[in-house]
Amino acid sequence: MIEIVRDAEGVRMALEEIFEEDFVRARVERESAGANAETKERMQRQIPKRTLSPGYYAFAEHLRSLDDERRAGIIFRVGDLAAFEARGLVALDRARSEFEHRHPACSGCGVRQENRFGRECSGCGVKFVRGKAK
């Protein structure tokens, strides 16, 4: 029996899944706007299923709310955070970096892409120019 908040790798995986889930959900909602209920339901199935025990996601959501405050400029003193929360925020930064690497943002409109290999932006349609490897 382990306390979930101390399993940093499991927490990082849960955060990655949540980032992916939010990304796909946002796309599905964008693409299914105006579709009938049946189509919407079918498209909802594209949202990836969670794979971990629910406690990981509960703690991950707690970390995300701390992170929202941190990104809004609220400064935490050392004593404000438990050690496992500080470790969790490090795991969150890692999970976000990996997510952002997989889904780079369009430099024109900011929309994150399905992967790194698209030829044009899925948001504004601008063509991507690839630099040649030297």
């Binding site: 029996m1 382990i2 306390e3 979930i4 908040v5 399993d7 499991g10 995986m13 299923k49 969670r50 794979t51 971990l52 025990s53 629910p54 406690g55 990981y56 509960a58 703690f59 959501e61 707690h62 709310s65 701390l66 405050e69 609220i74 404000d80 438990a82 929360e85």
Partner: protein, 239 residues
């Protein structure tokens, strides 16, 4: 308006096949409530991507009842019931469970309250407490608990402790056992409460210190939990 008298033992009336029974429960201490909260088995697991929750407070509730019962009337026995060894455990299971249900019958009130004063949070509870002199159990409605607005630090503590759990088994197929935020809620109640209405101690209305010292632990947790629950938006169907 009748009030809950916090110092008196509670009498729980049970009607079973036309026979009346009265079970008397001593005032429950915060330690006893804490033991009850610790015994709750609240678990969740992932089944094919869906979260499945289970909740079982039966054993903790029975242990609480057995530790708090001080008298029982309506049963036949060769000697006075309270002189029988472990008499509490010999009462019918359904009666002990019924007492447990009455002790934990506390919910957010649907009764209409006063308009909210900004900077102050008011929670209304409904609760079953004790049988009246006619042996009738009644529900007290609109029990008022007024609080200061929680600070960001207090919100943070609640969020942290509500999200804590242990894993039984593997990360994917294992069960999450929630540790529960009740001890944090008990502490937050004491930090935030300003005044209460609907309760008395020896017939006197409670001030803030009186509420901290005397409020029932289960009511504290129920009221403080409501502080952190989002209010339901008023939504109507589009015609």
């Amino acid at each position: 308006m009748p009030s809950i008298e916090l110092t008196q033992p509670r009498v729980i009336a049970i009607d079973d096949h036309g026979k009346k029974y009265q079970l008397t429960v001593a005032r429950i201490t915060q330690k006893q409530w804490q033991r009850y909260f610790d015994a709750i088995q609240s678990t969740s697991e992932n089944q094919g991507g869906k979260r499945v929750d289970s909740f079982d407070s039966t054993s903790g509730r029975l242990a609480l009842v057995e530790s708090a019962l001080i008298d029982a009337k309506g049963y036949t026995s060769r000697e006075p019931i309270t002189s029988i060894s472990e008499w509490q455990k010999k009462l019918p299971l359904s009666h002990r469970a019924g007492v447990g249900s009455a002790l934990t019958d506390v919910s957010r009130s649907e009764a209409e309250g006063d308009a909210i004063t900004l900077g102050r949070e008011t929670i209304y509870l409904d609760a079953v407490w004790s049988a009246d002199s006619n042996g009738i159990m009644r529900k007290f409605r609109g029990l008022r608990h007024s609080f200061q607005t929680p600070t960001a630090e207090q919100q943070h503590r609640y969020s942290r402790d509500a999200s804590r759990s242990v894993l039984v088994g593997g990360a994917r197929n294992g069960k999450t056992r929630w540790l529960g935020p009740q001890s944090t809620l008990l502490a937050l109640y004491d930090e935030l409460v300003l005044e209460v209405d609907g309760y008395t101690v020896n017939g006197e209305v409670l001030d803030r210190d009186g509420a901290i010292a005397n409020m029932d632990g289960y009511h504290k947790v129920a009221a403080a939990a409501e502080l952190f629950s989002p209010a339901a938006p008023d939504v109507s169907e589009v015609e």
